[in-house]
């Protein structure tokens, strides 16, 4: 069963393609990490799924399906009814994603489309579920009275109270302390499993991916480079980009003060995308074919797909 399916999604600013035919599926209760560097198109992919793209960005192709509903041609009104109920989202900066002048309880109740007075018990219960102590006091407080971690718990409460089938989490822990990060990830993991919510977790942090994701889709320059079960991708990365990315994570066993491993070169700008593999310019395994032709995603071992003519170990 599939909760959310993205097929060949393409996005463009004007005539410049920024996301190029990406595809992925998420099953109920599963956490899929969409990982990549800044500018690789992961956040706009999230906005496209919510159909909340900035005016300058257009969807130029592809199909997004939520359960049995195709979102791409849904009337705006019907899409609005789905938001919060069938598909919800949490944001990078929890404190700025909450209205500073509205109480926590009122903002959670909005996701139920009911006045707080009517659903107070339900909202209170949700605060308990996201691990907020003293919910009777917190429910009437304003965001400035809460810590960043608590605000993110409130955002999760807003997102999950209507029991959506899909949750999009856009860098949900980037703005938080490391210790709080772990708590929030554990909370997301637990609630997704209990409620059978499909989670698309957007992040640039491989540590977060390893912590929480069942499967991972590695994005590079607007395309999916490699996708598969997290454990398999981490153990034997098939795409050269994934391999170099994992190799660049500093480890405690590294010689102190040794140079950090880096990937030479820079991510190409969308306007400079060529005909071939977008990683070819930085890839130690690239040849003439890589520059001329776009590699399609194809299956390799362990249920993985990789878009590379010369995969590592293959």
């Amino acid at each position: 069963m599939i909760a959310l399916s993205v097929r060949d999604l393409s996005l463009a600013i004007g005539r410049t393609n920024i996301v190029d035919a990406i595809s992925f599926d998420v099953a109920p209760g599963e956490v899929l990490a969409l990982v990549g560097e800044s500018g690789c198109g992961k956040s706009v992919t999230a906005q496209a799924i919510m159909r909340l793209l900035p005016a300058a960005i257009r969807q130029t192709g592809g199909e997004i399906t939520l359960g049995a509903t195709s979102l791409s041609n849904l009337p705006a009104r019907a899409m609005r009814d789905l938001r919060g109920r069938q598909i919800a989202m949490i944001f990078q900066e929890p404190q700025s994603a909450l209205d500073p002048l509205a109480t926590v309880g009122n903002q959670i109740a909005e996701a139920l489309r009911q006045p707080l007075a009517k659903v107070r018990a339900e909202v209170r219960q949700m605060l308990v579920e996201v691990g907020i102590s003293d919910p009777d006091r917190r429910i009437d407080q304003h965001p400035f009275e809460l810590s960043g971690g608590m605000c993110q718990r409130v955002m999760i409460a807003i997102a999950l109270i209507a029991r959506p089938a899909v949750l999009i989490a856009d860098e949900p822990t980037t703005a938080l302390d490391v210790t709080i990060q772990a708590q929030i990830l554990a909370l997301l993991r637990r609630l997704a499993a209990e409620r059978q919510t499909a989670v698309v977790l957007i992040t640039h942090d491989m540590g977060v991916v390893a912590d929480i994701a069942d499967r991972v889709a590695v994005m590079y320059a607007g395309r999916v480079a490699e996708t598969g079960p997290t454990a398999a991708v981490f153990a034997t990365p098939a795409h050269p980009y994934t391999a170099l990315l994992l190799a660049s994570i500093p480890r405690l066993s590294d010689v102190p003060k040794s140079a950090l491993a880096v990937i030479d070169g820079q991510v190409p700008q969308p306007a400079d995308y060529g005909a071939g593999c977008r990683f070819a310019g930085r890839c130690p395994r690239a040849d003439r074919r890589c520059v001329a032709e776009t590699p399609a995603l194809r299956p390799v071992a362990d249920g993985r797909l990789v878009a590379c003519f010369h995969p590592v170990g293959g």
Binding site: M50, L52, R80, D81, L82, R83, G84, R85, A88, M89, F91, E93, S96, A97, L98, D99, P100, L101, A102, E110, A111, R113, H142, F144, E145, M155, I158, A159, A162
Partner: protein
Amino acid sequence: MPELKSRLLQALIAIFGVLTIVFFIMRLSGDPTLLLVPDGATAEQIAALRHVLGFDRPLLVQYGAYLLDLARLDLGQSLVQHAPVAGIVAERIPYTMALAGGALLVALGVGLPAGLAMAVWRGTWLERALAGFVLAGQSLPTFWSGLLMILFFGVYLGWLPTSGSDDLASLVMPSVALGAITMSSFARMTRIAVLDELSRDYVAAGRARGLSYGAVILRHVLRNAAIPVVTIAALEVGNLLAGAVIVETVFAWPGIGQLAIQSIASRDFLVVQTIVLFVSMVYISMNLLADLAYGVIDPRIRRDR
């Protein structure tokens, strides 16, 4: 509330400063004795009258006497009308209040929706049309737009009375003339404040939980945008009273603005000083009111107090 106490003290100091400045500036223009004596009066007669009125005393002594009277809540006698100043000014105040109220109604009623619409429909023909309208309201001088309105609606169409203060109809044109500039300030301020809020994450987050764009604006954006607008609104009420001087003159509206002009011309010092005292008190209480309004709008400030 210690906060309020210190604000009131500041207000008193500000009023005292304004009084002092006006007292000395009025005296720079000379004393009114010459305007009061009949033609052909001798130098001795003028000196005698000047002595009776007390204008031969050193300035500082006059200033001290004025402050003493004020402390006893005695605003003095008008030199020209030979009646208590308090009564002369008091009977004009309701007219100016009605005019300022009408102007504020025009300014808020047109300015806030115009500013909101310019922000929400940014980059459309509607924004450009409204921007032109706002620019016109802001740049047409009141005395000129007032005269134009009198010509068109009063003389040519005959819809509205050209002057006077007989009924509500006669309040319409002066209110529009006076409110135009304030309306433009409100519109520009509202536009900026709303645009600023529309770019915030909570707008996207509100939509992500299923609120329509309109609902996000009504439930979240407006209240956040109100904070800077309230500040401007308070200051603009002061500007309305200043603008009333011109509008009341153009439309022969019997308020304190008109009285101020007449009293300056006849060097009726005490009347001018009393009007300035009144206007500065209104100005300062509006600011105080704005400060209190913040607390109502913004819970962060409420807690700090």
